[in-house]
Amino acid sequence: MLHLYAITEPHPTAAAAGIGGTGIVSIPCGRLGLVVSEHRTPAPDLTEETLWHHEAVLEQLMAEGPVLPIRFGVRFADAAALCDELRPRMASLAEALEFVRGKVELGVRVLEDNEKPPAPRRSTRSGEGARYLLERLDRRNRAAAVAERLRRNVGDLAVGEQARLLPGKGTLVASAFLVERPRVAGFRRRVEVLERSLDHAALFCTGPWPPYHFVDRPI
């Protein structure tokens, strides 16, 4: 079975071993290169180590040219079947590759700071239910305000952005930005400065990642 990592331009790759130590090869498919490794097992082991291995291959590919990362877990019996599956989408995938050329994805996750919680909204007339709803509304408004502030501070350094408000417990905002490589350092500096000025929140900037959030369409 072929485990698929990424779509690239059709060129050989120097990426080191893939999942389980298997060799990485790039299979030409029209205007695309399909980066795969061969495995005996039909499905990959779903462990943290395997996921990081998949990601490590993508990060090596990023050094060689534009990359469209594949969602983890796709395997095909042979290269012909894989190429046949992608043929109808070849033009749009080639366009997406061109769009992400020279760019990387940076993540900014805003966590609620338990050390400095915001003052709860008080109302002597509110019952438990109303208080719960007011707190939820406060939290959503706080997340929206932080997302807007983040956008105002770094938006001009990015060519694309996707933000989610309250994506999980303890997280106000999870944003992904598509940034041209020369602007990465400046982007991080701006996030640092913003964190120092924020109350009730901690910011974490991660990346560079392959452009996971920006593979479908130009923003």
């Binding site: 079975m1 779903l46 990081w52 700071d113 900037c205 991660t206």
Partner: protein, 78 residues
């Protein structure tokens, strides 16, 4: 994968270590968020079953829970 933790540069060592650990957990959440939910979607001959993904999401919830725990510990250690 690198993680920008430079704001911890001016923190006391114990607090900086707590932030680094929190950063590692955040990076894992960011990876899971991307690798299992984003990227080009292709229907392969073998595509991970939803049940398998659910197992990882259980792990993801555990990680998020540990982020909350670490954040609390950061408060008590500070």
């Amino acid at each position: 994968m690198t993680l920008d933790l430079s704001p911890s540069g001016h923190l006391p060592e114990r607090e900086a270590e707590a932030r680094r650990e929190l950063g590692r957990q955040v990076t894992l959440v960011e990876l899971l968020d991307r690798i299992l939910d984003k990227g080009v979607v292709i229907s392969g001959e073998i595509t991970l079953a939803v049940a398998d993904i659910d197992l990882v999401q259980v792990g993801l919830r555990a990680v998020i829970a540990s982020i909350d725990r670490l954040a609390t510990e950061q408060v008590t250690s500070g």
